[in-house]
Symmetry: C2
Subunit: 343 residues, 2 copies
């Protein structure tokens, strides 16, 4: 498996997720501006992965500074920080990673530029490494929810490509397969960006896990027909009460799952949880470029001037969520208490 | 407005719905085989429209016969009939139109080939003309359901392009607009064939009716946010109890509408109703070519060998349907009785 993101000699390498699965090419970012643009343009996407990218972006930004002239480095750090922070508003992990990098900056502020750079690089690498370990732990806990022979529906891509490695929702499926269970996956194509068709199918195919591609409108019908045993998705931000922002279309799946008696599971690292938000009403929902809906792969599918709405995320109320899996365990309702201490 | 389908001097002209809205081109069918293929390849689609196409296809088939040699014309008629009947399995209107043509054939069987041809052409033209009138009546009844200022969500294309003219679901919207109401439409793009993005947006734009394009996964979220006042769709086959087969994704919309207290309406001519089926369990669901999901506009969006499911329709149980509008009026539950006699 090729890595999603890697630090390589004063630059960040990312697999270009806009071009998969047709082309496996890499984008090399040498400046924090390039990293910010890569996040905005979705060269890299997935809540944990953009957190890691932003952390490395901060390292590149600080590396570009020429000298520590006292007050100026604080201003420079702030400028870099704000640029990276303004890339995408919804995923909690981006802000979590930047805040962690700021704490490292403040701890090592007095060490001079060379020492500071080394400390920040170390912190970014730790964020990357810990994310991979976190996903393994999510898998170990979550695999208990997957019975042998299950068909699991997933949406978007909550796999290795959305994280440092292994994945959150797909990490649970990988862990279940690794302990010998047979699991079949239905992957929603996930318009407009087609993360399901392009990324989830590609990832699972590489691992030899059987995957069936369907359009987003089909998911409910397969639930109704009894062909789906569980729905399993990732998350971009989870409020303290369990309300969960995730890729647009997730809310619809949760309603359809409840209506058909299918369990609905969310998998995410705890750094996705925003304890400052009492519920999902306060989660900012990114509205992206209308051309993402008007076009598919650069090809127009409607009138060029068609009016479009393009929210990139929706919020699934906690009442529809059977369980949330983090690296700490399986959290059941009521989430206000269980997110602080799982079973 | 260009016609969807028209008889033009021993041939049938159809606007090529695969190429809209980028190109407005016509396909001319001179044989019944060409008509059958046009239906299969979705040059023409929409339950009422394929019924009209099949009727004209039968006319072309009978016109190609060279002489009435007694028993052979029955065999020839049967061969033509069966070829047209086997094009698409789900929509009731196709079979209804063919059965009506068969009745005309039997009534005029004794008139010799020339008289028979004239009678069949007259019958096919009557089917086309009546469909346009039926849609106007659906609009007159259904507009009572649309309040001034409403935002109506629709799926697929149940417009002029799906019928002889005016449309069923879009006919109701047109009728509401014609009586001075302001109506805004949310159009689901409707993967895989993109009837919403390509056809509904194009049709409503031509009429100056405001339309907003969204992806299929967004519809539930806009209902949850209170931005949708009603859902209004067409139908391909309605069972005697009101269970309704329509374009894949319709079932999900109906569940989401119910969950959010949004009325869910179906609009269709009575020839869509299959009184021989007690419920929707017996409706045959067409599964189409997997490449429709793997590709968009001929462009691959996943692995070329990705496993795919591609049901073209789903069945919405009557319990989710607030009302069914036909040319006879507004039918409310219980549909077992009301479909026979509306309010």
């Amino acid at each position: 498996m090729l890595p999603t993101i890697a630090w390589r000699g004063r630059s960040v390498l990312m697999i270009d997720q806009r071009k998969l699965p047709g082309q496996e090419t890499y984008v090399r970012c040498r400046t924090y501006i390039q990293v910010a643009q890569a996040i905005e343009k979705m060269v890299i996407r997935g809540a944990p992965a953009i957190g890691i990218a932003a952390a490395y972006g901060l390292v590149l930004g600080v590396m570009s500074l020429s000298a520590d002239t006292g007050r100026s480095i604080d201003r420079d750090f702030e400028r870099i920080y704000v640029r990276l922070e303004r890339t995408r508003p919804t995923a909690r992990n981006l802000f979590w990673a930047l805040e962690r990098m700021r704490a490292a900056f403040e701890r090592n502020r007095g060490q001079g530029l060379r020492g500071l750079r080394a400390a920040l690089l170390e912190e970014a690498k730790a964020i990357e490494l810990e994310d991979a370990e976190t996903n393994k732990a999510i898998g170990r806990h979550g695999r208990a929810l997957i019975r042998d022979g299950m068909t699991v529906l997933t949406h978007c891509n909550a796999g290795a490509l959305a994280t440092a490695a292994y994945g959150t929702a797909l990490g649970i499926i990988r862990a279940a397969v690794e302990e010998g269970k047979t699991v079949r996956v239905f992957a929603d194509e996930t318009r407009p960006f087609l993360q399901g068709a392009r990324l989830t199918v590609w990832e699972l195919d590489k691992d030899g896990i059987p995957v069936v591609l369907i359009t987003d409108g089909m998911a409910g019908w397969f639930m109704r027909r009894g062909e789906v045993d569980a729905v399993l998705v990732g998350a971009d931000r989870i409020a303290a009460n369990g309300d969960t922002a995730n890729k647009i279309g997730t809310y619809a799946l949760a309603v359809l799952a409840k209506e058909n008696g299918v369990p609905f599971y969310v998998a995410a690292p705890t750094n996705t949880i925003d304890f400052a938000l009492a519920d999902g009403g306060g989660i900012p929902i990114e509205e992206r470029n209308p051309d993402e809906v008007r076009e598919i792969g650069g090809r127009l599918v409607t009138l060029p001037y068609a009016e479009v709405r393009n929210p990139a995320f929706d919020v699934t109320p906690a009442a529809y969520i059977t369980a949330i899996v983090t690296e700490r365990g399986i959290h059941r309702p009521p989430y206000e208490t269980s997110l602080k201490s799982p079973d």
